[in-house]
């Protein structure tokens, strides 16, 4: 049986090609703290980070911002992290804002092999600038394009050794979609269980989307 559980050193070796990285979590709930630290230890630079928000100061993806590791941020909201706002206003970072529904749907679209989707969200606003408007029936829609990454860093509540994942409560948020949309999907799991111990209906991300797993997460800190 496949065993995708490994250690942080192996993961450091694997995170080489590509600098576009998705990081799960909504205001740090569901964020893979240990995998973020791995990026810091590798001292990576000029990253493009795709994450909903930049968390709170000192937590999760915020640590990458604070260390000036991020060249471009694709997100929906930065209001909880003043340093991100400061870097934006000072021209030190490029920030692309997406409406949150558009953000997650773009990620899903990449993972699902679609070429994009039509959304009413953002029509008549700055979000529509430079994008194709397509009318269906009597309504205008923005054509939004897929958003994919080289690497997804995500957290699960439970993972079996084969890579089936279960999330808990509002920590699920963007993670199941990011797990579909990156070349290399790395999981930090609060609990690692034997393959076969999860009920097939309980699984939220099937193993075939997952590449590597390390133990981690809040409960192991």
């Amino acid at each position: 049986m496949m065993d995708k559980v490994t250690n942080i050193e192996e993961i450091k070796k694997s995170v080489t090609a590509g600098k576009t990285i998705m990081i799960g979590g909504f205001l740090n709930v569901g964020a893979p703290e240990k995998l973020v630290d791995m990026l810091i230890e590798k001292d990576m630079k000029d990253l493009t980070i795709i994450t909903n928000d930049t968390s709170f100061p000192g937590k999760g993806p915020a640590k990458l911002i604070e260390r000036k590791m991020v060249k471009k941020l694709i997100c929906t909201h930065i209001g909880t992290n003043p340093e991100t706002g400061r870097q934006l206003n000072a021209g030190e970072i490029e920030v692309e804002f997406n409406p949150q529904g558009t953000f997650v749907e773009r990620i899903r679209s990449a993972g699902a092999g679609l070429g994009g989707f039509l959304t009413p969200t953002g029509v008549g606003t700055l979000v529509a600038q430079g994008k194709q408007i397509i009318s269906v029936g009597d309504r205008d829609y923005i054509l939004e394009l897929p958003l994919k990454a080289d690497i997804a860093l995500i957290k699960a509540w439970k993972a079996d050794r084969m890579g089936n994942l279960v999330y808990r409560r509002s920590a699920r948020n963007f993670t199941p979609l990011m797990a579909m949309a990156a070349e290399l999907v790395i999981v930090e799991a609060e609990n690692i269980v034997e393959t076969g111990s999860l009920d097939p209906d309980e699984v939220m991300t099937p193993s075939i989307l997952v590449d590597m797993i390390i133990p981690g997460g809040y409960e192991n800190e």
């Binding site: 709930v29 409406p99 949150q100 529904g101 009413p120 969200t121 606003t125 509002s170 979609l177």
Partner: protein
């Protein structure tokens, strides 16, 4: 919470019927849940992937995996469900939310809303607001009538970058309850002691005053 904000939250709380599915924005809108009349139970949808979101937990009872859309510890009531963000925004955009209550920097007489950025100053981002305003069946703006500096917030035309075009249905401020219609902004209720002249003086957009204007409780 200031008196003004409590007045607003109380009035918004009486705009729902039992069982309505409602998304409450961060800040003042969240306070609405504290003033629901007896017998009115809402199904609170939180865009980070929860239905039946409850009140904040008692100290020591926090669950690290349960927060509201503002990042504060929260709870999930019996009958609640969790889902991913794609499903959460499918619910929002798909018209499955009866009402959303949001704050605003500016609203105008055409129902346009601006609440996500002040160019060159504060650019927090739109988060889920653009989807909520486009997708919810009823959009209620809950806000103080003017800025701290006394500037207009209810305008002829928004000057800040828009969140959405022609989506706002109701505005509730400490001065009154206003409905946005094709004819313009109709004042439906006035706070006790507030005259049409007073609310108009604090509003850039021309207000419509029908014959019967109730007193806002």
């Amino acid at each position: 919470m200031s008196d003004a904000r409590a007045v607003i939250a109380k009035r918004v709380a009486r705009m729902f019927k039992d069982g309505d599915i409602v998304n409450l924005g961060i800040g003042l809108p969240t306070a609405v849940a504290n003033y629901l009349p007896e017998g009115i139970n809402l199904v609170i949808h939180s865009e980070n992937g929860v239905t039946m979101m409850g009140p904040k937990p008692l100290e020591g009872d926090e669950d690290k995996d349960v927060i509201d859309a503002g990042g504060r510890p929260s709870t999930i009531l019996p009958g609640g469900a969790c889902f991913d963000s794609a499903m959460s925004f499918a619910i929002i955009r798909g018209g499955h939310v009866d009402a959303t209550v949001l704050g605003a920097l500016q609203v105008d007489k055409n129902g346009n809303l601006a609440n996500w950025m002040v160019p060159g100053k504060v650019v927090p981002g739109m988060g889920g607001a653009m989807d909520l305003v486009v997708g919810a069946k009823k959009v209620i703006i809950a806000m103080e009538h003017s800025t701290k500096n006394g500037e207009f917030k209810i305008l002829k035309e928004c000057t800040l970058p828009l969140t959405a075009v022609a989506e706002v249905d109701w505005i509730v401020t400490e001065l009154g309850l206003m409905e946005i219609t094709k004819e313009g902004i109709i004042v439906r209720e006035l706070a006790p002691g507030i005259t049409p002249e007073e609310i108009q003086a604090k509003t850039e957009a021309g207000l419509i005053f029908p014959e019967n204007i109730a007193i806002m409780e």
